[in-house]
Symmetry: C2
Subunit: 186 residues, 2 copies
């Protein structure tokens, strides 16, 4: 294999295991074994397990928005675009076995004082909020129950709530309901 591919392979394996098993339940040993590399090679590319976690979060955010923006780009109508956001997460959760949001999951696993991790997670959530808000602005001014500001908040909270709820019940019912509600609100 290529030398530079090692780092990618570590991240690939770590990403999978951190999501499937959890960060704390995934040991360095398992990562080096499944990535088929030597112990010290990992520490050559990452300073520590925490450093690997932060790299994972950063890469995960990039991939998440790439896929999300690609998915919702199919629709040009603002309302359709917003509803596609629910479909995106539904499809994603289906594919990934209803493990919930990977960013939220990590935030529940680290110490509350771990500002680096919480900064990374809130960065992703902020970016999603901005994405939603920008589309809501393009909506025609019908007489809605909620103002544009509150509507954007509602959509965000419904998405997050449904992602969590789906991960508990291990099915897509929550996200389906959330989309139904969103459809009425928009």
């Amino acid at each position: 294999m290529k030398k530079s591919a090692v780092r990618e392979r570590i991240l690939e394996v770590a990403s999978r295991l951190f999501y499937e098993q959890g960060y704390n339940l995934t040991g360095i040993n398992q990562i080096i074994e499944e990535a088929d590399i030597a112990r010290a090679s990992l520490y050559n590319h990452f300073d520590s397990k925490t450093d690997l976690l932060l790299a994972y979060l950063k890469e995960a955010e990039d991939i998440w928005f790439l896929e999300m923006e690609n998915y919702t780009a199919r629709s040009s109508d603002p309302k359709e675009k917003l509803l596609a956001l629910f479909d995106f997460r539904m499809e994603r959760q289906n594919k990934r076995g209803f493990g919930g949001c990977q960013f939220i999951k990590i935030s529940a696993e680290v110490s509350r004082q771990d500002t680096q991790v919480f900064d990374a997670v809130s960065h992703q959530k902020n970016r999603l909020k901005v994405f939603i808000t920008d589309i809501v602005k393009d909506l025609p001014d019908n007489n809605r129950l909620l103002t544009h500001g509150l509507l954007a908040d509602a959509l965000f909270l419904l998405l997050e709530g449904a992602a969590i709820s789906g991960s508990i019940y291990k099915n897509q019912e929550s996200m389906t309901k959330a989309k139904e509600i969103a459809d009425k609100l928009i």
Copy 2:
């Protein structure tokens, strides 16, 4: 101290640490130290750390509903009662330093195959859903945007989403917004 108080003290300390630090980051050592008991005493009252976790979840659910029902009992009007649910969680999150929902947090820390834990968590969530649904039924039949069924789902998802979001941002803004939205929907 009383003999029978030992079990209570273990649960008390474990509850605090599981929430503050996380389940996986809390070792048996720290629990026995802070509860000021012997190692084997813990294993006399609980078969394993997992057993202690399940006892924690059970007790936590009982306490949660006791406090919640007590809090919302102040209001007799159905709409006020539903909105009080948001106040309850806001107050609770304020007191507990925005660590998020304790049940969700645990579900993010254990293996996805740990059915005992996921059953305990979904039990608590189902009970909350039933509580909400029962009150929604008592609402007068105004011409609302959402049917009673969808309204109950919306309130549940808003609560869960706001709890999560608040735990990321470490403030009560999410729950305040959620209550504002709920106020319009009901």
